[in-house]
Symmetry: D2
Subunit: 308 residues, 4 copies
């Protein structure tokens, strides 16, 4: 049987030189102050066992990883109708964000670029009516899938995002001009920034992804969160679109469905086997955790668990 | 044990209504004349067994499927250096083909869009010097991996491509202006069109992909064509970039690495298990075989073999 | 001596068939209700004489014509420093509005596209501090140059613009993300929509442009509003950028510096000779008054006053 | 009466510091070798008088100035039908050249960007059948309008253009793919490069533009080359599109219809009064003669002859 703890320990050793490279996200002061050289990694198996290395209890800003949770929630509610409002294709170039949105009449290419995640949050607002109820339900869902009631958000990060989020407000307004946002823009944007500023540890995040590795059903609690078909499709979108303009590179080097956040976290799943989370706040030039990406590459090399 | 023949037979029945939909490629006369309602499907396992339905001996124009072969060949020769000339990211929007090429200084996004495949052919020309030697080596490689000496190309299709291929010539010249084409443009283009006009049956194409399913080694002849790492990476690029602007959709619905051609063929692999080829010449709006895509979706639904 | 009244009367006759063509602006209800078949035209000479045809006292929404007034005002205040924030080149394609803004780091191509006019209004807010003072000074300036104290704005149109102005809010936020907007976005946008909803007649608008025809000095009151050099440059920008993506067409057919608004008005100047305003609310496919453009073309044909 | 010789002499003095700035075109070796600090300027009046400063007999490569001549010739032959194949709007951004051409289905925005000029040359080939006859007729036309039989082209420059003209070949092929090129691409391209490599002096070029200043009729020989309406329209397109992405800037600072070439020449007209040519081979960042642009700005400042 594979000795996962040993593999994680090896990775921790081999990753050390990479902890000096990259740059912490600095577009908002609250994130720029994070201690840069941190590293943690966790994996969760279907039998309930889990393995950890580094400070796996340290909470960090999940940022875009929240897009997986809200998309899952919205897909559960709206099913295929959701694809009237967002696509499922890679977006090409980050430079294109506004370009493609304008060319494609306000329909974002996928739920994991900012424009797409904003639309997803808008659909949740349509369902839960108030922005407080919407956020409570997002948080409740994350608590359910991670089987952990103590998850909340960082007010300072949230406020800081709001103070500097003009480009996201631009995206929301452009989509509203195409009738692809249904609620008040300020409500949508505030809810979106709140979900991005949720804080979790690698231990919690890895645990929260287990249902996606197991086709929608938490293998420990046996709760079915989504259907098998929905789980496969979320995984496929993570693989093709989970790392912005480095999605191809991540598929190429790591070979697992995954989603990164500028807070330095990356979640990934090995379908039918396990969930993974890695954290290291310094980012590569595409905005993904540098050491985190490297750690996942080492992991699939050592275990042969790439889906390819 | 799975009864693959029964599954193929079922798919053939269920696919019939779809054979009336879509449109045969009509950008060149030679392809427009193809009989539209054809269907064939083949799978090859590692033990040498294979299963077929429809007219699996019928040869058709492989078109863009040839890009997998030339990319494999070039990767074998140049290894990582090849990525100085082409990327490995999805290209976003077909409308962008020239846009992104210009914006990204003549470096195509991946080897499976036309610009990328033209660069790949150019690198083969640099290696084999003359266009005849280059094409002979491409053909020889395809004969080797498919274990089938009788493979050739359709002169009429090749000539027709050349007569109407102005956009591809535009791409080649644009890249040459950025110094990303090293050989005479007419030689590159003629070789490229020749490789596109190679004809093969589903039986041959499925057989030819077996080494990619088995991490670079033909499981029957035990010949190693490329390394395990290279095979995984070709598979990951097929998954993220294999179906133009419907790559996300294909990953979403089918969940296998694959590559389509406008001749109506699609090849796919189930890593560590099998290779597949389907043929039906009528295309959906993204230029991929309509019934072929549906057949592959049925296949992964029935067998549970999606990688997700 | 030219009989201008006769020429205007002829134009009024010849223009009649065109009054049935085109479409009233319908992006906001308040504009969509305008009576479609109206026509009026006014010219003002340096000796104080003026000529009119149609209902030249009828007030209409000046819309983008206000961009000439705010740009003039901002140029007077900031002089060449203003060009750090906006360019003076034609913008190419309307489809590109957000594209170019993103590509060119939030610096609009010229002051007559929406993004550019929003920046101009932002600079006026920086100068006058409050949005009320800013608008009062804009209005006061228009009253001065038109020598007419009774000019105000239409509250219903202003509110309607604000209710539907998501794309303009998107532009403002995108520019703010590039630090090219200095004030509160809502203040900038409200002031911008207020200036667009100012109402004037052809009589008033033609009078207001006389200083631009006369190199910055009102030839009747002798007030110098801007320098000769500034006046020439405003005229050159009107010629190259005054009619969105039909600026070349307007230069080609009319041959005068001019600026149109979606309310159906067009102002133009014959340098060193006269100012002109025409009004007819139905628009051609580029968003410029259809009969108005035709009337100006007839005018330069009949008088030989094209600058070319 | 204005002392034009004195004005030219003053300009020559004042321009001297600018002769050290800018960079000679270096995309082909044949142009890169030009002696950089040269300057010459010529003007021609309707009474036959002409004024010159610097080495006004020195022949240089006219490059894009040839686009005015071929467009004039094609407009004479095809009249309004020519606008089915090319537009008359500014093109925005040079970066967009291929972008807009693709977006707008192969119809270039105007006759003065490369794509547009290539289409114009293609229409001349359709009229004169062979490429030799076509070029002979282009040359003959230039000899006629300049009243000077000794005009020819530079074979070395022509060959050098052809050796490095991949981007232009890309444009031609892209347009051919949209059916907007009717003749053999190599014939079109060779003729185009030949016209660009014609050499003329400022004396000859200024003389050649006199008919455009005088509404289509050479004021000295009284030959009518085109109609008054055509002449006005060519002038309007020179004003809005004559200097690539610095057309607005040229209109703004100089205020005259003009056309530049990367050989360092700029022609301009003062409608109803005179024609001008200036030459200085070092270019500003937009590819227009740096000292030449400055000289023309000084000229309109000193004479008050801006059309605005």
């Amino acid at each position: 049987m594979t000795n996962y703890q040993k593999i994680l320990d090896e990775i921790y050793e081999e990753i050390k030189p990479y902890l000096k490279e990259g740059k912490v996200a600095n577009y908002i002061p609250a994130l720029a102050q994070v201690e840069p050289n941190q590293f943690a990694m966790s994996i969760n198996l279907f039998d309930g066992s889990s393995y950890h290395v580094g400070n796996s209890d340290k909470k960090f800003s999940i940022q875009s990883i929240s897009k997986v949770f809200t998309f899952t929630k919205a897909l559960k509610i709206y099913r295929k109708k959701l694809y009237n409002k967002i696509g499922k294709e890679p977006s090409g170039n980050p430079f294109n964000s506004l370009v493609q949105l304008e060319y494609e009449s306000g329909i974002p290419r996928n739920p994991f670029i900012n424009a797409g995640a904003i639309v997803v949050t808008d659909t949740l607002l349509s369902n839960y009516k108030t922005k407080d109820d919407t956020f409570d339900n997002i948080l409740k869902f994350i608590q359910d899938i991670s089987d952990e009631p103590n998850i909340s958000f960082d007010k300072e990060v949230c406020f800081s995002e709001y103070e500097h989020g003009f480009r996201n407000v631009a995206l929301a307004n452009l989509m509203k001009s195409f009738n692809n946002i249904d609620n008040n823009i300020d409500d949508v944007i505030r809810t979106y920034f709140k979900q991005c500023s949720i804080t979790m540890s690698t231990k919690e995040l890895s645990r929260s992804m287990l249902f996606l590795a197991n086709h929608g059903v938490d293998p420990i609690t046996n709760k079915e969160f989504i259907t098998q078909s929905q789980a496969k499709r979320i995984n496929s979108i993570m693989l093709t679109c989970g790392h912005y303009d480095a999605s191809g590179d991540f598929a190429f080097h790591v070979g697992l469905p995954g989603k990164s956040g500028v807070g330095g976290g990356i979640v990934a799943v090995v379908p039918k086997l396990m969930s993974i989370c890695v954290f290291s706040p310094q980012l590569n030039s595409w905005g993904n955790s540098l050491a985190g990406t490297k750690a996942l590459e080492l992991f699939t090399s050592k275990t042969g668990l790439s889906i390819f």
